[in-house]
Symmetry: C2
Subunit: 146 residues, 2 copies
């Protein structure tokens, strides 16, 4: 992706394996024509789709339904100078099919405490990209402060 | 921002204070008309501008120069069900003024290891927003998996 940055590109399978180790990621979308980003907890479906749960009345649900979004999770270790980042890019949709919603009720992410009207949002894993940083390399983008 | 989500909105000053405690954040921009997000280490200037350092030849530098971007940092604690997220939204620009670049050389973020041609990117703090989650509240967006 960035030829000059010293990162190692990760394949789709590796990205999904790393994403499965994270519980929090960030959904990136457009709000009022500006870039917007909000952390969310998430789960992964068997096909690699990202599953979120949110209030049906939330601005997030309205903003992302039907839109192409990016979903990112990462980990970085300033001690060992290592880290990874994985991004799923694809169309987000509120799950409206009752059978599918019931299935996600069983396997999807859980709230700390349920809110009255929740929906699942599914992000199709159309593009799955990622990068890994092995300690001690020079790199753009993740040259941690000492 | 989201009236139905149970988060507490943070003021500009509080956001900048929290951002100053983080060393890694994520820059959100547009790449080939798709949402893009990449983790970067960063510093804060005295006025709240976000300072990044990257390879002059990187696609990131080219993609964000002159564009409105969002920069987000967060922290979440699954044990205490608490966390925060802060976002700086504003125009990003590669610093070309030699005196300013020299100043940032002294106060700006440092690379783990220098790459031959680096530039500073400055994100103007036009909009500084954030949210805090206090443990045990129901919320959209950060209802962590157990």
């Amino acid at each position: 992706m960035y030829p000059n940055d010293g990162f190692r590109e990760l394949g789709r399978h590796e990205c999904l394996r790393l994403l499965a180790t994270a519980s929090i990621g960030r959904i990136v979308y457009t709000r009022h024509a500006l870039p917007a980003v909000v952390p969310v907890n998430f789960g992964l479906d068997a096909d690699g789709a990202v599953l979120l749960r949110t209030s049906a009345a939330s601005e997030l649900a309205r903003a992302v339904d039907g839109a192409v979004v990016a979903f990112e999770a990462d980990a970085a270790d300033a001690e060992t100078h290592s880290g990874w980042s994985a991004v799923v890019t694809g169309r987000a949709e509120i799950v409206t099919d009752p059978a599918e919603a019931a299935r996600l009720e069983r396997i999807g992410p859980r709230s700390w405490a349920p809110s009255p009207e929740e929906v699942f949002v599914r992000i199709e894993p159309e593009l799955v990209t990622g990068r890994e940083l092995v300690g001690g390399r020079t790199m753009y983008g993740l040259h941690l402060s000492a």
